[in-house]
Amino acid sequence: MKTEIKPEFLVSPFLVSFLVHGTQYGVGVLSFQRELAEFVGHDAWISIIITGFIIHILIWMIYTMLNNDKGDLFTIHQRTFGKWIGNLFSLLFILYVLTMAITVLRSYIEIVQVWMFPLLKTWPFALVLLLIVYYVVTSGFRAVTGICFLAVVFPAYLILTFFVPIEFSNFRNLLPIFDHSIYDMVKSIKGASLSFSGFEYLLFYYPFIKNPASSQKYAHYGNLFTTLLYLLIMIVTLAFFDQEYLKIVIWPTLMMWKIIKLPFVERFEIIGVTTWAVVMMPIICLMFWSASRGIKKLFKVKQKKALVVLLFICFTISCFLTERETIQQYNQWTSEIGFYILFCYLPVLFVCYHIRFKMGKKI
């Protein structure tokens, strides 16, 4: 089952921080504020910190399993649950990855349709984006990592734009602190899970890292950077918007960009949406890379064929999601599934793996 990966396909450990951050920082950034503020209002920034902390623990769990196993999700599943059940769980996980990919792709296209081209048909744009995905993924994991890296480096200038609204902000909006119950906090963490997801692909690309055990700290750095960035955006958003207004704004980040004015550019949100094409590209690429690699390992088919099939499924489903409500509904579901997979299934797997491992040792 285990096949050694040739050294020329491996990537340096420190690139893991770009892989983790690059996949977390995606379409969710444009809209995550509302889902949090819905439950905890001006305390949303606290739940960002808590979620970031939980993700650190999850990354630690993943690394403990992977370092022990020296494999990936599939070997872990097989060792924990046996061949058949393990593979079934792997397949379900791949399905989850695919649904996430569809969410990301369709949400981005929706943003484009709302903010830039109201008359743009979904299918041609989805087709072109998926063609790029095909081009990247067929170039192998090094190219996927490269796109992740460039997609973090190039749009980095957008971070500066988050400071601009501070001029028009009122930081008293953040007071009083700790104004919400723990139950509300938990619910808000559920809302944040979609924007923090992305680190779980470690389970797929772990064997492609040089000295994989040494990459753990970089994964934590990546998550730390994401948390800090979200914290900045959240605080600025809370200070900039009125709370009641924030609950009805669908894309608060884009709304904040509206006030940026440069001598040669107005309506900065158009540039933001354009740049977001570069930001969300690596996420879809990594998702499809992971999913197609999973199918290759499970069914022993060529990764290229698996990729084509997955891209076709994604293309078809995204074309059928036409109404704003259906997309919203779909995103709601995936967010829910994502929450349970990340925050419930991964710890359960961790526990099961360790019980099994200890038992196996004794026998």
Binding site: M116, F117, L120, R267, I271, T274
Partner: protein, 496 residues
């Protein structure tokens, strides 16, 4: 008799030397004559078009006429050449004759003969580099003769570690190709890759080094040059010392350098002759110019077609007043102007220098002004397109300039299709392509990806020599150190 048969088994008739000569005699420039007046009569044959008649008259014939030869081996003693070859092997004789040797025989039907090299060396003088001209620094450029070129490189690197491997490539052209590297610095893998590809090369004719570069590049379908061609011997010596591999082809005034990364396409070798602040500034300007050149016309089209909201009020007034009377949509306007510029460039390149210059000025000024006056294009776009064309000429590597000019058109098309988003998509495609590309198996986008901080010192900027104590990492040199750092940059206290 028996011995004679064993030595020269006459299986087929054309195997004897005499038949070979008879076959060559069909060609008008083949000379084959007998001189019976001398102490020892001899036969002499050569291609008149390949040999230097002066050598023949001055250094060969007088000695042959003066001395009595008892056997063919005596030719070696009497002629003032260090490499007179006595052989009877047909393949060697054939090669030598076709490369400009004179063949001497004592009897017409002898199998053994003496071969004396007397090829005519014709090559132009070493001149000033034209494509990679630099204001400061040496002004020598390669010529078409491989011997002169190798001399130009070797005089700059008089060390025994400089190795040259020679190949003969081309079934018809039999071109000499030399691979140069410094042993102990250049990575074995790179050398082997180059040599392997050259050995596997099957082609009928190599007229220039660009043939080789097209044939051995990693991705032949890419627009981007994956080997740099240079006409500067100093650049070749410089990159050899960094650990690159260089290919020099006979008959070509350009040497090929590999492996390269994309950043080297923005480096003029002049950058090393001026101080580092200047060099860094110029490199930054070049990178900006290239991005400007690719993106600015597409952005104009995208913004004016779809995103006019992006333009602030004051700028809008300028743009609108410039475009008010233009009947064409921005895309057509831009394409027409871009094509005009390409037309001027192509015409200028095909014509003799002086006429070309005139055409450039006349075309540029007259057509440009007339197009604006006639109301076909706007002033703003004219400025943009002209600047973009100018910017594309800032790249020090000529082939890169062509790449940039061609890249603009897909970007334009995407801009017309989906505005800024189309440009972003084209950009993503370009990025992926560059990520995928390799030069002799080394990543093309290095040091950007894979990110290597150490190599950034000599990429987009050039830091002072004292900080460049290591050779570029992406060439994976066997010997990392250029020089010992602590000696070069000793920190001194005040008044010490």
């Amino acid at each position: 008799m028996k011995m004679w048969f064993r030595k020269n088994p006459p299986k087929r008739e054309e195997h004897t030397l005499f038949d070979l000569i008879l076959q060559y005699k069909k060609s008008g420039d083949f000379v084959h004559f007998h001189n019976p007046q001398t102490p020892q009569p001899y036969w002499i044959s050569y291609f008149g078009s390949l040999i230097d008649v002066e050598i023949l008259h001055r250094d060969i014939l007088p000695y042959l006429n003066r001395t009595a030869l008892t056997s063919i081996k005596d030719v070696k003693k009497i002629l003032p050449f260090e490499d007179v070859l006595i052989t009877s092997e047909r393949q060697i004789i054939e090669d030598a004759l076709l490369r400009g040797s004179v063949l001497i025989q004592l009897h017409e039907k002898d199998a053994a003969c003496a071969l004396v090299r007397a090829e005519m060396k014709k090559s132009r003088e070493v001149t000033i580099p034209e494509e990679e001209y630099s204001v400061v620094g040496p002004k020598e450029a390669f010529v078409e003769s491989i011997t002169t070129n190798l001399n130009l490189v070797r005089t700059r690197l008089p060390i025994s570690e400089l190795q040259i491997r020679e190949y003969t490539i081309g079934s018809l052209s039999k071109t000499k190709v030399a691979v140069l590297y410094i042993e102990g610095i250049a990575n074995e893998e790179n050398i082997n890759t180059v040599c392997q590809r050259l050995e596997n090369l099957e082609f009928y004719q190599i007229l220039d080094s660009s043939f080789i570069s097209q044939l051995i590049e990693d991705n032949g379908n890419s627009l981007f040059p994956q080997l740099i061609d240079t006409e500067r011997p100093d650049r070749v010596a410089g990159v050899l010392a960094e650990g690159s591999v260089v290919i020099i082809v006979d008959g070509s005034s350009h040497a090929l350098i590999g492996p390269i990364s994309i950043m080297e396409l923005f480096n003029a070798f002049e950058d090393y002759y001026i101080n580092w602040q200047m060099a860094s500034a110029f490199r930054l300007i070049r990178v900006l110019a290239v991005s400007f050149s690719i993106l600015v016309t597409p952005i104009y089209v995208a913004v004016l077609t779809y995103h006019y909201q992006l333009i602030p009020k004051d700028l809008m007034v300028t743009l609108v007043s410039s475009r008010r009377t233009i009947p064409l949509p921005p895309f057509l306007e831009a394409v027409i102007l871009e094509l005009t510029i390409e037309l001027l460039r192509e015409a200028g390149a095909r014509l003799p220098t002086k006429v070309g210059q005139t055409i450039g000025i006349v075309g540029g000024i007259v057509i440009g002004t007339a197009a604006v006056d006639a109301g076909l294009t706007s002033n703003v776009l004219l400025i943009i397109v002209a600047l973009a064309a100018l910017a594309s000429f800032t790249t020090p590597v000529y082939r890169m300039g062509n790449t940039i000019r061609l890249l603009r058109f897909p970007f334009l098309l995407m801009a017309e299709l989906w505005g800024l988003l189309g440009i972003a998509i084209a950009f993503l495609f370009l990025m992926n392509h560059l990520l995928r590309l390799t030069s002799l198996g080394r990543p093309y986008l290095e040091p950007i990806y894979p990110p290597r901080m150490k190599d950034l010192k000599d990429a987009i900027i050039r830091l002072p020599f004292s900080l460049q104590s290591n050779r570029p990492h992406f060439l994976q040199p066997q010997d990392q150190k250029r020089f010992l750092k602590n000696k070069a940059s000793e920190v001194k206290d005040i008044d010490e």
